[in-house]
C-alpha cells in the first residue's frame, strides 16, 4: 500500500507526496502533459527535442546540471507519445535545490539559437544511433504509420524524419514552451525521505508564484476504425527476417486494458509464455519473440515482434503466430495459467515499488490518468480478470481486419 497526500496549488500545479523513510534520498518527478502526439505533423520530434533544450539553462541559472551535481543529485528525462517526464534523486537534505532548479525552468528558459543548433545535432545523432544505424532499427518507424493513418501516434517520438528536427525554427520552440510548459499542465511528485508538510511548503514557495498559462486544450483527430488487413513488406540487409504485427485496442482507461495486458503476458511473459514455448522452443521458428501493450492514453496497440531462425519461411512463421492467437480466441485459458500471469503481474508491481523513482513516476502518471489511487487499486483489476474476459477481448481485438503486419525480410536469407 502506497500512502500519499495530494494538493493543487492556485496556479493549477498538482503536488503529490509519498513518505518512505527507508531511504536517505528523495525522488522528485515532474510530468508535463505533453508528448509527441501534441506535435504539428509538419514538425514532428519537437517534444523530444524540447526535452533536450530543457537542460540548456535559463537566464538566472545558466547551468542546470552543475548545481544538481554539487548537491549530490542525479537527473534525467524521457519523452513518449503522451508525456514528457523529468526526474531527479537527491540526498534528502538537499532536496530544496531540486525545487529551485525545476521551478526555475518551468518559469522560463533561455532560448538560444546556438543551443538549439547543437541539440539538433545531438538529437540527429540519437536518431542515427538508435534507429538508422541499428539492424531492425527502422521497423517501428514503418509499423506506426501502417497502423495509424490519422492520429499523431502515426509518427515516432524521435520524429517522422530527420529533416523535421533539422528545420525546427527557434520561434516554434518558444511557442511550444508557452503552450505546454505550465504549472497547470504539470504534476509534481515527491517520494522518499521527506515529510508531506515540508514538501507542500516547498512546492508553494518555489512553484506557487509561476503564473497559470492557460494551455490550449488538446483536440486530436481520432483514428478511424481499421476495416481491412494491412500488410507491408520491407527488404533489408539484415541477417534474419523479422515479423511485426500490431492490433488496435482501446484507450488506457478502457476496462479491457487489464485483460489485454494479461493476454500479452500469456503470450510472451517470461520464458514460459505461449509464444516462446511453442514457437521458439518447440517449433524453432523464431530466435526471439515478444508481445506487449503500448499503454498509450489514446487508443493504443498490442504489438508482436519476432526474429525468425535462419531459413524459416516468414509467411509460415506468421501463420503459426496467427494459430497461437486463434487458440486464445477459441479455447479458455486454464486456471493455473491465468493465476500464473496474475501472480507475475502482482510480484512485478511489488519489486517495482521498492524504488522511489518508480513510485514517483507511477504516482504522477496515475494522477494524469485522473485517479492517483490507481497506484494501489489497479492490481485488483488485474486480479479480477478471468478466462471469460480473455476469450471476449481476444475475439474482439485479434481479428485480421484490425491487424497490421510488417514482413521485414532479409535480402541475405535468399531462400525465402
Amino acid at each position: 500500500m502506497i500512502k500519499f497526500n495530494r494538493i493543487c496549488l492556485s496556479n493549477g500545479l498538482r503536488v503529490l507526496v509519498h513518505e518512505d523513510r527507508s531511504t536517505p534520498l528523495v525522488a522528485m518527478n515532474i510530468l508535463y502533459d505533453v508528448g509527441s502526439r501534441d506535435e504539428d505533423p509538419d514538425n514532428t520530434g519537437m517534444a523530444h527535442l524540447f526535452e533536450h533544450l530543457m537542460f540548456g539553462g535559463t537566464a538566472s541559472i545558466p547551468e542546470f546540471d552543475r548545481h544538481l551535481q554539487i548537491a549530490g543529485g542525479e537527473n534525467n528525462a524521457f519523452t513518449n507519445p503522451d508525456i514528457t517526464d523529468y526526474y531527479i534523486t537527491l540526498p534528502a537534505n538537499n532536496i530544496e535545490t531540486g525545487f529551485w532548479l525545476e521551478s526555475d525552468r518551468m518559469h522560463s528558459i533561455d532560448f538560444s539559437q546556438k543551443n538549439l543548433d547543437i541539440q539538433k545535432n545531438v538529437v540527429i545523432e540519437e536518431f542515427n544511433q538508435r534507429y538508422l544505424n541499428q539492424p531492425y532499427g527502422d521497423a517501428m518507424l514503418l509499423l506506426r504509420p501502417l497502423s495509424y493513418k490519422v492520429h499523431p501516434y502515426r509518427w515516432p517520438t524521435i520524429g517522422m524524419e530527420i529533416d523535421h528536427i533539422r528545420n525546427t525554427p527557434l520561434h516554434k520552440i518558444k511557442e511550444f514552451f508557452y503552450s505546454h510548459y505550465a504549472p497547470d499542465n504539470a504534476i509534481l511528485t515527491l517520494t522518499g525521505n521527506i515529510t508531506t508538510d515540508y514538501a507542500f511548503r516547498l512546492a508553494e514557495k518555489w512553484f506557487g508564484s509561476i503564473e497559470k498559462r492557460f494551455v490550449t486544450p488538446r483536440n486530436l483527430p481520432a483514428e478511424p476504425l481499421q476495416t481491412e488487413e494491412r500488410i507491408l513488406t520491407a527488404e533489408r540487409d539484415v541477417p534474419a527476417s523479422a515479423l511485426y504485427k500490431a492490433w488496435h485496442i482501446g484507450p488506457r482507461l478502457n476496462s479491457n486494458f487489464y485483460t489485454l495486458d494479461l493476454i500479452t503476458d500469456l503470450l510472451a511473459g517470461g520464458e514460459s509464455g505461449r509464444l516462446y514455448t511453442k514457437l521458439v522452443r518447440e517449433k524453432k521458428l523464431f530466435t526471439e519473440i515478444n508481445a506487449y501493450i503500448t499503454s498509450d492514453i489514446d487508443p493504443g496497440l498490442v504489438i508482436f515482434h519476432g526474429k525468425t531462425m535462419k531459413g524459416i519461411d516468414i509467411y509460415k512463421a506468421n501463420d503459426e503466430v496467427n494459430n497461437i492467437i486463434l487458440t486464445l480466441k477459441e479455447k479458455q485459458v486454464p486456471v493455473p495459467e491465468m493465476e500464473k500471469v496474475k501472480n507475475k503481474y502482482e510480484s512485478a508491481n511489488i519489486y517495482s515499488n521498492t524504488n522511489i523513482l518508480n513510485k514517483a513516476l507511477n504516482l504522477a502518471y496515475y494522477e494524469l490518468l485522473g485517479n492517483p489511487d490507481m497506484i494501489n487499486t489497479e492490481v485488483d483489476l488485474y486480479r479480477n480478470t478471468d478466462k471469460a474476459m480473455v476469450l471476449e477481448a481476444a475475439g474482439k481485438y485479434f481479428t485480421d481486419i484490425n491487424c497490421s503486419t510488417l514482413f521485414y525480410k532479409s535480402i541475405r536469407d535468399s531462400s525465402k
Binding site: T89, W100, E125, E211, V280, T287, E288, M309, K344
Partner: protein, 424 residues
Amino acid sequence: MKKRSLIQPRIVPVDLGKIPDAKRISLQNNIPVLLIQAGTEDISRIEFTLSAGSVMENLPLLASTANMMLAEGTKNYTAVKLNKTLDFYGSFYNLFAERDRAGIVIYCLNKHLEKILGLASEILFHPVFPPDELKTLMKKRLSWYLINREKVNSLAMDQFFESIFGSSHPYGRKVIADDFNKIDNAALKDFHSGFYRPETLAIIVAGNIHENTVDLLDHYFGKVVSETIRPTVPGRIPERQKNRKVHIDKPGAVQTAIAIGSSTINKRHPDYPGLKVLNVVLGGYFGSRLMKNIREARGYTYGINSSVHSLDLSGYQIISAEVSKKNTQNAVEEIFKEISLLQRVPPENEELAVIKNYMLGEMVRMFDGPFAIAESFRSAWEFGLDNTYYYRLAEKIKSIESDEITSLAKTYYDIDELYEITAG
C-alpha cells in the same frame, strides 16, 4: 504577478553515512552466505555466484552456454515446467556469465522462498543439458551473434578487448561463427561438474531476511558435496596486442563507433579510487569534459562515456561513443586533446568540488534499497574486499586534490599506451 524567490537554497555537503553491512555465516559445507537486511517489502534478492566465468573455459562460449543451459532442463523438471513454476510463484531470474564469475540472481516473494530455493538448487546442481534445448540455444545465439556483427558498437568493443587482452586469452578472444557448432552435452557436463561446486559458490541474500532463511538455505545447499576433483585451470595472463590503432570497416554504416582505452589496475590497487575520480572528470558523468566537448559544444554524438572496470586478473578503462561518420576524426582528436589537457593542467577546484559531491551522491544511491546494496556488496566481495573499500573510496573522493588528478592522468592515460579502435 507574485514575485519569485530566486535565492539559491544552501547546499549541505553530501554524507555517505554508515553503509549497511552484511551478516556473514557459513552453511554446513562452508558455503559462505551474506545476509543484507534492507527495504520495506517482504521480498528477497538471492544471488548465487560461482567462479565459473569465461576465464575458466577451454572452449569459446562454454562458460556462457553452461550458464544459459542451467534452466533448460534439470533432473526433476523439463525446461517448460521449471519456467512455468518459477513464473507461477511470481519470481524473476537472471542467469549471468561474466569473465570471472557466473551464476543466477533470483527475485522472489518471501512467502514462496522455500519453493524457490528448491528450484534454485535444481538449476544450479542438477541441470541435464538436454541436446534438443542445446541445439535451439545455439541456433538462437548464432543468430544474435550475426545481428551483433551488424552493430558498429559491438564490432568496436570486440576488437577493443582482443587488442588489450590478446586473442588467446578468454578476456580478449573474439567469438567466430564456427564456435557455435562446437559445444556439446559432454563438454557442458564436464564444465558444470568442474566449476559449479560448493567450494566456489557464495550466496548473497538481500531484502527482508526471515528467521528461517538460513535454515532453508542450509537445507537446500548445505549438504551439497562435490563428486569430482576441482580441475586446475592454467594461469593464463592476458597479453595486449602490438597494433594500437585498428579500424573495422562496416560498409553502409551511418555512424562510427569509437573505443579508446587500455587495460588498467583493478579494485585491489591502492590507486583505484583516485582513478575512479579521474575517470569521472574525463567522461564519467553528464557534465564531464568529454560530454561537454563532444556532445554539448560540438553535437558530434548522442553520448560519450568513459568508464573503469575491474576484472580478477586485470582491469580496463574505456572511452566510447558513436559519432557521425564525417566527424570521426575530429572526435578522436578532441578525445586525445581532453586527455592531454588533464595531464598538463590541474582541474580548477570548482570543477573538482562538483565532481566530489556528485560522486558522493552516487555512492548514496549505490546503497539505496536492498537490490542496490546487494550489487554494491557483491562487486567489492568478489575482489576479496568489504565495505572498507567503499569507505576508502569515499575518503579519496573527499580528499583528492587537483595535482593528484594530473599525476594519475599521466600514469594511467599515457597516450602512447592507449588503443584507438574504430568501427564504421
